[in-house]
Amino acid sequence: MKEPLWKRLPAGSVILEAGSAAKFKTGSWRSMRPKWIEENCIQCLFCWIYCPDMSVTVKDGKRGAFNFDYCKGCGICALECPGKKGNKAIVMEEEGN
């Protein structure tokens, strides 16, 4: 007979696998969605630095699309975005609209 589930758990709820947070997709928590307006983007990468969930993808030193598997819609990127000539490169929109 198989051991019950509770007997198979690691003691003290220690997670023994490194980097396993990637398996926990938090995108479904989102009620506000960041929208990237590329023409206002100066590629300062503030959004990438500030994002608490590494949801801003960067390739070859340039930012790419948001990774919505992890973006909780916190809005920090939109707040920090300096934009170009007063126009934000990231704005928050209501999810589902």
Binding site: K7, L9, G12, S13, I15, L16, A18
Partner: protein, 392 residues
């Protein structure tokens, strides 16, 4: 074997910590535990231990630092009392849930308000549900012996749980008693080398402590924690048997005194058990078959063994040095739990005594025994829960 000294309870436990030489102590001073950690920090300053002392800004931080150090892979100890333990409260559950074998002497003291620095059990009773093992000590010798055994118990690989070693504030912590110290080498050998389990400082195998676990698995982790508690009893007895081999001093889950052929008995924790034993002797001389049961391990509570030890009695009084306002005293509730399994339940009364360091006097024990004689004769209980030693 050991040498005999005249020391306070705090000095004796500080000496035990010196002999054990933990890797980390994070502590914040609070009466009456201050003196314990102050003496231990003296050992650090004098280079007699290698312990890293972390001075923190509160007991909440003290327990947090202890949790971090234990998760990192260190042998960790701290000490506290009263409001300090209360401030640690949320972190206590984390230490237990993370299965970190921190050892903490608790020098029992009343809780505010009103502000009071003297001994009662309100502090550790408030932490009884935190998942820590709790051992209670009657004397400085027991506090010293329990502190040494607590490391072996807490760190046992079958359990790995934090443990509190309780002694009565001032009554034991600041009174000078005869204490037999073991040789340093014997303590080191008894406690053994610390065995790390999942240390965070093992950088080749990164891991996380304290994850978010919601409705999918939280219930299962608690089920596992409950299971671990059921294993503590055997470990406590195994460690006590080894300790007896080394010292000749016998410890169990509880102590009984003239209980085997008793008709009435008092159940009481810690220092007040000493006074009670004296009065039991007086009543025995008068031909009254009185006895005593003094729990040593309060968490986990040894229900079956206690029930077996009390099953022949005609009346039982449980004396609590803490109240659960709106409920019975915490020790009384446990004894009720033990008695529940008996076919023939003896009548029981609950007395609340000694709060805020009010002296527990021989005449209080006499009055309780007189009432028990009456109850044994008539089978009638008038008041179940009552305060005793209250000033007129």
């Amino acid at each position: 074997m050991g040498k005999i000294f005249a020391v306070t309870g705090n000095e004796a436990v500080a000496e035990a910590l010196r002999q054990i030489n933990p890797d980390v102590c994070a502590a914040y001073p609070i009466t009456p535990a201050t003196d314990l950690m102050q003496r231990f920090s003296g050992f650090i300053s004098d280079g007699k231990v290698d312990t890293e002392m972390v001075l923190v800004e509160s007991e909440h931080s003290a327990m947090s630092a202890c949790i971090g150090a234990a998760a990192a892979g260190g042998r960790v100890a701290t000490a506290t009392s009263s409001q300090g333990l209360a401030l640690m409260w949320e972190m206590l559950f984390i230490a237990a849930g993370d299965r970190l074998p921190i050892v903490m002497p608790v020098v029992n003291r009343a809780l505010s308000a009103p502000l009071n620095i003297h001994g009662d059990h309100s502090d550790s009773m408030g932490a009884r549900d935190s998942g820590w093992i709790q051992l209670y000590s009657e004397t400085a010798q027991e506090a010293y012996d329990n502190a040494i055994q607590a490391f072996r118990i807490a760190e046992h690989l079958d359990i790995r749980l934090p443990a509190m070693v309780c002694m009565d504030g001032f009554i034991v912590s600041h009174s000078i008693e005869r204490v037999e110290y073991l040789e340093d080498a014997d303590v080191k050998n008894f406690v053994g080398k610390y065995k790390q389990v999942n240390p965070l400082l093992d950088l080749d195998n990164p891991k996380s402590y304290g994850p978010l676990i919601l409705t999918d698995l939280y219930h299962e982790y608690k089920r596992a924690q409950h299971e671990v508690m059921t294993k503590v009893k055997n470990v406590v007895l195994e460690v006590a048997a080894d300790f007896e081999k080394m010292t000749g001093r016998k410890y169990g889950l509880f102590e009984t005194y003239r209980l085997e052929d008793a008709e009435i008995a008092i159940v009481i924790l810690s220092s007040a058990a000493g006074t009670t034993k004296d009065i039991i002797d007086e009543y025995r001389d008068k031909g009254i078959k009185a006895g005593l049961l003094k729990p040593r391990m309060f968490r986990p509570f040894p229900f079956e063994e206690v029930a077996d030890a009390l099953k022949h009695l005609k009346a039982i009084a449980v004396l609590d040095r803490a109240d659960s306002f709106g409920g019975y005293g915490p020790l009384f509730s446990e004894i009720c739990g033990a008695v529940m399994s008996m076919n023939k339940k003896p009548p029981m009364i609950n007395k609340i005594y000694g709060l805020g360091g009010r002296d527990y006097m021989p005449n209080q024990a006499e009055k309780v025994l007189d009432e028990l004689v009456e109850i044994a004769n008539t089978g009638k209980v008038n008041i179940i829960k009552e305060y005793i030693g209250v000033r007129e």
